[in-house]
C-alpha cells in the first residue's frame, strides 16, 4: 500500500483530536477548565515624505491591526485557542487550533496556526514588538515597493492549516533544546506562476484549503543557553514543498536566527533564503526579461533577507531600537518587472517605543530605504499600540 502524505496528515490530525477529546471528556478534568482572553490593537500612520504620492509605491497612511484571542484549557494536557484578527485584509482567523501536550518534549498542534519558522513570528503581534512594521524578510505589506518585491521571504504571521509536532527539553537549568516539525498547506500560486501569490492564501473565494493536495513540510530546531537574566538562542528553520496546483513548481526556505538577551537589552539577527522555481512557459523569451544562459533558461530565483536589530531601554518608559535589514533577489524576472536579475534593498531604521499608561505605547520610527533599482526613499511611522 502506498502511504501518501495526503492520506496520513488528516489521519494523524483526527487521531490527535480524538485523543484530546477523550482526555477532555474525562470527568476528573471537568472542573479544571480555565479560559483566558487577550488582545491587541495598533493604529499606525506611515508617511512617505520622499515621494509626492506614497500610495504609488506602498500601502501608506493609516492602518489598523486588531486581534482578540481566547484560550481554553481542558485540564493540564489539552487546550484550544482561537484568535481573530482585523487588519488590511479584513477579518481573518489567525489561530484556531488544539494543543495536546503529552510531555514537555512532545506536543501536538492541529488546526490553523503559524508554524514555527524563525524567531520573529512568535513576536509578530504589534503589542509584542517595538516597531510599527516587521523586518523585511517577514514583511507583510508595509515595506515600500512591496509590489515590485512581492513583499519579504515569508510574510509574518504565516497562518496555515496543518499539524505540528513540537517539544522542548532542558538538559540542565542552562541548556534548553526546542524542536518542531510540521506539515501545512504551504504557499500558493496559480499554474504557470513565477512567484508566490499571497492573495490566494487569504481568499475565501478560493477556499482556505491546500491548493495542490500536497503539504509543505518544515521544521525548526533551537538551542537556548540561559544564565541568570541572560540568554543566547540560536535556531535553524526550513520549509519546502510545491506551490502551484499542478505540483510542478518547488520552493525551499531556510533560515537561521540568533538572539542575545542581556537583561533588558536584546540583540536579534535573522537570515532567510528562499529558492523558488518559476514556470518557464512555452516561450521563455517572451516571458522573461533576460535571455538564456549557457545552460538555457534558469527556472529558479533566489531571494535572501536579513535583519539585525538592537533593542535597549533608554528609561523606564522608553525603549530605543535600531535595525538594519535588507532583501536581495537573484535570478530572471518577468518582462513586466522593474527589478533586474540581481536587485537589493537595504533599510535603516531608528525608532522608539514610549509607554504611556498600562500596556499602551506610542511607537515612532524613521526608515531610510536604499534601493538598487529605484530612487531611495524615506518612511516615517507613528503608531499607538496596546494590549488588552
Amino acid at each position: 500500500m502506498i502511504h501518501t502524505p495526503r492520506a496520513s496528515i488528516p489521519c494523524l490530525a483526527a487521531s490527535v483530536v480524538a485523543l484530546g477529546a477523550t482526555l477532555a471528556a474525562s470527568p476528573a478534568l471537568a472542573d479544571k477548565i480555565e479560559r483566558n482572553f487577550a488582545g491587541s490593537i495598533q493604529l499606525d500612520y506611515m508617511a512617505v515624505p520622499s515621494t509626492s504620492v506614497g500610495r504609488k509605491i506602498a500601502l501608506d497612511a493609516a492602518t489598523a491591526e486588531v486581534s482578540l484571542k481566547v484560550t481554553q484549557d481542558f485540564g493540564e494536557r489539552m487546550s484550544a485557542s482561537i484568535k481573530l484578527c482585523v487588519a488590511c485584509h479584513g477579518v481573518e482567523t489567525g489561530m484556531a487550533f488544539f494543543d495536546l501536550r503529552l510531555a514537555d518534549e512532545l506536543s501536538f498542534r492541529v488546526g490553523r496556526f503559524t508554524p514555527q519558522f524563525g524567531a520573529f513570528p512568535i513576536r509578530h503581534d504589534p503589542a509584542n514588538h517595538r516597531t510599527s512594521d516587521k523586518p523585511l524578510p517577514y514583511d507583510m505589506g508595509r515595506m515600500l515597493r512591496l509590489t515590485d518585491w512581492n513583499m519579504g521571504i515569508l510574510p509574518s504571521p504565516w497562518v496555515d492549516n496543518g499539524v505540528e509536532l513540537s517539544g522542548s527539553h532542558f538538559f540542565s537549568e542552562s541548556i534548553q533544546l526546542d524542536y518542531a516539525a510540521y506539515a501545512v498547506g504551504g504557499p500558493r500560486a496559480a499554474n504557470e506562476a513565477a512567484d508566490f501569490d499571497y492573495k490566494l492564501s487569504r481568499s475565501g473565494e478560493l477556499y482556505y484549503v491546500d491548493n495542490n493536495s500536497r503539504p509543505s513540510l518544515g521544521g525548526r530546531i533551537a538551542l537556548n543557553l540561559i544564565r541568570n537574566k541572560n540568554t543566547i538562542t540560536a535556531g535553524l528553520s526550513a520549509m519546502a514543498g510545491t506551490y502551484d496546483p499542478e505540483n510542478k513548481l518547488n520552493y525551499a526556505i531556510a533560515g537561521a536566527d540568533l538572539l542575545v538577551q542581556i537583561s533588558r537589552v536584546f540583540v536579534r539577527a535573522e537570515y532567510l533564503v528562499r529558492r523558488t522555481e518559476m514556470a518557464l512557459g512555452t516561450d521563455p523569451s517572451l516571458r522573461f526579461k533576460y535571455g538564456a544562459g549557457k545552460n538555457g533558461y534558469d527556472a529558479y530565483f533566489l531571494k535572501q533577507g536579513f535583519y539585525a536589530e538592537l533593542e535597549v531601554p533608554i528609561s523606564d518608559r522608553v525603549d530605543g531600537i535600531v535595525r538594519w535589514d535588507g532583501l536581495r533577489r537573484q535570478g530572471n524576472v518577468l518582462r513586466t518587472s522593474e527589478l533586474r536579475s540581481d536587485s537589493a534593498v537595504l533599510r535603516y531604521t531608528l525608532g522608539a517605543s514610549i509607554r504611556l499608561a498600562g500596556a499602551t505605547r506610542i511607537k515612532l520610527s524613521g526608515e531610510a530605504y536604499d534601493f538598487s533599482d529605484f530612487k531611495d526613499e524615506i518612511a516615517v511611522h507613528l503608531a499607538v499600540a496596546g494590549a488588552l
Partner: protein
Amino acid sequence: MKIIKTRASRDPSGVLAAMITIMLATACAEPRGLLTGAAPPPPDIRQACALATTKCAHCHPIERVVVSRGIGERRWKMYVEQMRLKPSSGISAAEGDVIFSCLRFVEETCAECKQGRS
C-alpha cells in the same frame, strides 16, 4: 554586467561602538512594574519577580503582564504554563514555579491591582 548600488560598503564601526556603549550602560537597569502596588516583598519574591520580568520580556513588553494583574491565581497558573511552553521561552519547569510565586504574591497583596488598571 549590472552593479548593485547600495550603501552597504559604509564603515559601520561607529554605529556598532555606540550600540555597545548603550547596551552596557543599560544592561543592569532595574526591572519595572510587576510589584508596583503590592506589599513590600521578601527577598525571594523580589528575585522571583525580577526573573519573571526578564523571562516575560523575552517575547513581549512586561506591561502585558502588569495590566493583567488581578485575574486570579488559577489563570496565572494557566498563563505561566502556556508561556513556558512557547518555543525558546527559556523557562524551565522550576522557573515556571518561581515566576508563578511572584504572580501569586502580587495577587495576594496588591489590593489595587485590578485588571486593566495597573
